[in-house]
Symmetry: none
């Protein structure tokens, strides 16, 4: 049951998100201004202000799709193997626009608590939930020791990967393998 008033322009909406995404992917938050987004999207600045309260909010929404798109698990494989695959995928994604965006979001989150909250809720938590599920299955399947500290392990895993990203360090496949070995280490059965 539609409300009164001219309906929101889906075209503009999409153009804004697309433009925002492009600017962020290309050069991070530095070149990310409402003015540029508006110009690139062919939209008036006020339309952006109408819908997004802050740069962080726009950045968040414009990148969510891209951030969560990558990982498609293979249910047939053992959980730990899936986990390793996932690490490789993340490392590869962090080389491109996705990495730039995640780094930018983390940076912007330090300025603006609402961006932090949104980033946590929309990106960090889903990613953790997905990894948590994998680790639980690994324990259930006897691939990991039952006393493996899942939450702490995820702090380590995400922390370490993000750290490499923020410091601009590449994560080559063999580093990822060593990383996974270190993380799961003696807990593997």
């Amino acid at each position: 049951m539609a409300v009164a008033g001219r309906p929101r322009s889906d075209e503009s909406h999409k153009a804004i998100l697309q433009a925002a995404y492009e600017l962020l992917a290309e050069s991070g938050f530095a070149a990310f201004t409402f003015e540029r987004v508006a110009a690139l999207a062919g939209v008036s600045r006020s339309t952006i202000y109408r819908w997004w309260p802050s740069k962080g909010a726009l950045a968040m929404e414009s990148t969510l799709g891209a951030l969560n798109a990558a990982y498609q698990p293979d249910p047939a494989a053992p959980a730990l193997e899936q986990l390793r695959t996932r690490f490789h995928i993340v490392a590869r994604a962090f080389k491109g626009p996705t990495g730039r965006i995640v780094a930018s979001m983390l940076a912007e989150s330090q300025r603006d608590p609402e961006t932090l909250a949104a980033f946590t809720q929309n990106y960090i938590e889903p990613a953790r939930a997905s990894m948590r599920e994998l680790l639980r299955r690994a324990i259930a399947a006897g691939e990991l020791r039952a006393d493996f500290d899942i939450e702490l392990a995820m702090d380590f895993a995400f922390g370490t990967l993000y750290h490499q990203l923020l410091l601009g360090r590449s994560m080559e496949p063999d580093w990822i393998e060593r990383f996974a070995d270190f993380l799961l280490g003696a807990s593997q059965l």
Copy 2:
């Protein structure tokens, strides 16, 4: 042998660094502008531009002292114990202005590669060197297995701690203990 011309004003220099530190510690990079620093320091903007090429550089120099001041090792204690002590000290420091500053520096580093370079060189690397030394001594003393991957462990340690910092998570003493256990885990002898 002094050169000609008016000598650099040590007073201004210190006032700038002090003002920069205060602004950063109080509200991070958000409120950290050349204009405010100049006003707070009672100094002209051009004097700041003369000596620091970027906000990152000024932020760096103004906070280095505070960042590196904390840790005073006790050479008598076992290396791993010193390491744990150090984790606790870092966690406590991250609760206050120091945490705010490190987070801000990491954030700013995402905008400006030079800040990243400076931050890496002036803060990350010394901290790693110091921790590396500790870990080497731990191995030498037989506290850690000889095949312990020092560099990778440091990626984990710093990454994890920074991650908690950036996400605004507190690091209580018992969490730090679990963190250290996980990090050193089965490698302890």
Copy 3:
């Protein structure tokens, strides 16, 4: 023969005129915007746009009543005496909202020719016609010389009163008396 369709809402119509009048009377054209009128009237902006082509037109209609309400001639009195009475009434009216409004209308007329035309037609001309009548009767009654230049005298009369209004000068009763003396001067019989 009424056409089809929902009839114009008299309630909205009045609310708009009332709101417009209040805003104008309170602070002139400065605070007089369609948005404010709509908000104050509890009416949608488009309803205003439907019926009034410009701010000037709305201002005009909303103030006409107040502007022309004041003067009630006393047919028994001599024409020149009625004229003087009228000057006093105008001077008093110009002290309040009416003055603010007339000044605003004259000001807005400088931006928008249609407002000027409307103002001339709806306010200036009726006022002149009424004064013209009075002056004609004064001549017919032998109160004024037959060669008195009525049109020119009205240019002087209105011009001078408006000038005082626009410059924010008060027109006290004794000033009005001197004003009338100067205007009619030697032409009185």
Copy 4:
């Protein structure tokens, strides 16, 4: 004794005043925005804001020269003759940009009291002072009766001329003659 700091750019200053004048002369206050002035002057907007607190102030300063430039009295002629000449000159000036500007200034003065004050002080008062001088000389020379009310006469004179201007009425030479006759009328000796 010059103060420290980069000296004000005379070039910019002049360009701003010139641009402001052109915009005002061409289309009055309607098209007179800081943005347009800045663009036309090739100057940044902030430079304008630095030096002029309001549109009125800029308009004032940019037009003063033009407004006061016109009248050059001929000391040899009788005062009243000079006065008539002056009326003709004013009427002619009001046909062009000067008229547009004076009307705009009066209009803007209704929005902004500071503009009114500035306009009164910088334009109205000097013009009155100059006419006052002429009228005094006329009385002294026995061209006008000694009890001629100079101030009131000036209210009439300026009021009437401005009124014609604001209402968009032309003031042809013969109208000016009749105007002067009415103003000075029976007071001429």
